[in-house]
């Protein structure tokens, strides 16, 4: 590899050969040709990163352990503290609880995704593509060590007789018919967008009693059903954070066809990480909607 995010020399040679490869299904391939998009090559980008601090709370950036005060641990925007209302009960009793954003995980994830993405786009650029369609991305967890492998690939396409794009190829998860429909509706794909947020929950005593069933111990407040505020607050915050993070990448464009995947991992009893990943297509309006006729109900006679 010539530079940190460059294309390996052999790959460059292969990509500049006269035949193309494409990851599209035959129907998507046909639809692509129909749209006047010429497939030029299957382009890919990889990146592996390590997120050590997600291992356990002893390895946090400031070296915190469960027995020390957590306050001011987070450098993120979101942090909430939950005080024990009971007073000193015993050495094992949780005197505090905290929800906090883990920007170091988010940043590492973003770095991994962005590196893999820019490497793919660079390959596409090398072979003179205008865009990359039918992008597939995959994040694989390798072993237990918090290692993530990002793999992004797609089919680079070219519009014949159009000058090369000045700001790099556009990218989209869409291909085939769905891509054609987007364009017919007046949108042009700009880029795929993905973001993660990470919220760590160190359960307070109340939260843990409630998750085990309220009224379980003499320390619980009552035996009625009660909302588990700390968990609710963390989940709402995690979703809001990931949405804001994606919004920051839109610059006035629309995010279409969003997919939200939420991973919750319990490291130990009362120690939870909530990690939503939000992915979608950033698209931009290039013409107005044609005035559409009202939908008409039809019955198929077959």
């Amino acid at each position: 590899m010539t530079e940190q995010s460059g294309v390996p020399d052999v790959a460059e040679q292969r990509l500049s050969a006269s035949s193309f490869s494409s990851g599209l299904s035959v129907s998507d391939f046909a639809a692509c040709l129909d749209m006047g998009l010429e497939p030029v090559g299957l382009v890919q980008g990889f990146c592996a990163v390590r997120t050590t601090s997600s291992l356990n709370f002893g390895n946090g950036p400031a070296g915190f352990t469960r027995s020390t005060s957590p306050y001011q641990l987070s450098s993120g925007d979101y942090v909430e503290n939950y005080q024990c209302p009971h007073g000193m009960v015993s050495g094992e009793h949780r005197m505090w609880g905290q929800n906090y954003q883990q920007p170091w995980i988010e940043n590492t994830w973003r770095q991994g995704f962005t590196n893999a993405f820019t490497r793919m786009v660079k390959e596409a650029n090398t072979i003179g593509a205008h865009g990359v369609v039918g992008v597939l991305d995959n994040v694989t967890r390798i072993g237990q060590e918090g290692v993530l492998e990002f793999s992004i690939r797609g089919t680079a396409v070219r519009v014949p007789k159009l000058p090369a794009p000045s700001s790099g190829p556009w990218t989209t998860y869409l291909a085939g018919q769905r891509l054609a429909k987007i364009i017919e509706a007046g949108y042009v794909p700009v880029s795929i967008v993905a973001a993660v947020s990470s919220v760590r929950v160190w359960a307070s005593c109340i939260t843990e009693y409630l998750m085990e069933g309220s009224g379980m111990t003499m320390w619980a407040q009552n035996s009625d059903s009660v909302e588990v505020e700390q968990i609710v607050s963390a989940r709402m915050a995690a979703r809001a954070l990931v949405r804001n993070s994606v919004r920051a990448q839109l610059h006035g464009d629309q995010l279409h066809g969003v997919e939200l995947n939420i991973r919750e991992h319990e490291f130990a009893k009362g120690d939870l990480e909530i990690q939503p990943v939000l992915r979608g297509n950033r698209i931009r309006r290039f013409k107005d909607f044609d005035p559409l006729p009202a939908p008409r109900l039809t019955v198929r006679l077959s």
Partner: protein, 280 residues
């Protein structure tokens, strides 16, 4: 804009793609972003009735269930039923607030995830906030939430109806243990376990009743697309549960608008082929 469709130039997809790709070289003028999990078909459906998407919104709630109530008792497991109702209501009011904050008038295509654990009940809602194009914000309590897809929403509106919100009813009931003498007597018989049957009927009745109450409270005339989940609780041997939810609707126009479905003959049917299985 007023030209009849026939007067329009024939649509050329290749030209359109070329124009779209070339437009990326120009600077974007839009400053207002939206996020949505709708498909392009759904977006066009929304647009056809004068609505637009605004933001992906969610509502969450987790309610604890008083410990140790699943296994011994009689009649309804009131603590669990109550926790379920509260979790649902809190999740709904949170998604109302997120939608109203984003300027939405309603949320469509809501994915509803609910799970009942021995110690807590979780409800999670995720959907796309929508509004009439360019409309000004409304208060959170005026927002409607619906699990109908954007396509069904558009169809409903065209038919003169409006969605008012989600209604949900759930009830958990103990199936009383049989007398030891009955257990021994029946051990070699194939019989109906009336304790379980009766418990199912009892939980169904309460749950449907509660869903109906919610619908009436929303001033609806009915609930459409009702989902039902019922059966024994996997973690308790003598508890059964029943939950039902759906979108509350009301006639908004004076009468139902007949839609006069048009008959179409599809031209992309698979070719009829000889099927040996039909001879058997």
């Amino acid at each position: 804009m007023t030209n009849p469709p026939a007067a329009k130039e024939p649509f050329n997809l290749k030209d359109e793609v070329r124009r779209a790709v070339a437009s990326l070289e120009m600077k974007s003028t839009s400053t207002h972003s939206t996020t949505s999990d709708l498909s392009i078909d759904e977006e066009l459906n929304l647009h056809s009735i004068g609505w637009e998407q605004v933001e992906l919104v969610s509502g969450i709630s987790v309610f604890s269930v008083p410990a140790g109530l699943w296994n011994w008792g009689q009649g309804e497991i009131a603590g669990a039923s109550k926790a379920h109702a509260q979790a649902f209501n809190h999740a709904i009011s949170r998604i109302h607030k997120e939608a109203a904050d984003a300027g939405g008038h309603g949320v469509v295509g809501v994915h509803i995830e609910r799970s009942v654990h021995p110690s807590h009940v979780e409800v999670s809602l995720l959907g796309t906030a929508v509004r009439p194009i360019g409309a000004s914000p409304v208060k959170p309590e005026e927002v409607f939430v619906s699990d109908l897809s954007a396509r069904d929403f558009a169809l409903l509106m065209v038919a003169g109806w409006q969605p008012l919100g989600l209604a949900c009813g759930a009830s958990f009931v103990y199936a009383p243990r049989r007398q030891m003498s009955a257990v021994l007597q029946q051990s070699s018989q194939n019989i109906e376990l009336t304790n379980f049957t009766e418990a199912m009927y009892s939980s169904r009745e309460s749950a449907m009743e509660r869903m109906q109450q919610m619908a009436i409270a929303l001033k609806g005339t009915g609930v459409v697309q009702v989902n039902v989940v019922e059966g024994p609780m996997p973690f308790a041997t003598h508890a059964v549960g029943f939950a039902a939810w759906g979108t509350v609707v009301r006639l908004a126009k004076e009468s139902h608008q007949l839609m006069h479905p048009q008959m179409v003959v599809s031209l992309n049917d698979p070719t009829a082929v000889f099927d040996a299985a039909t001879l058997a």
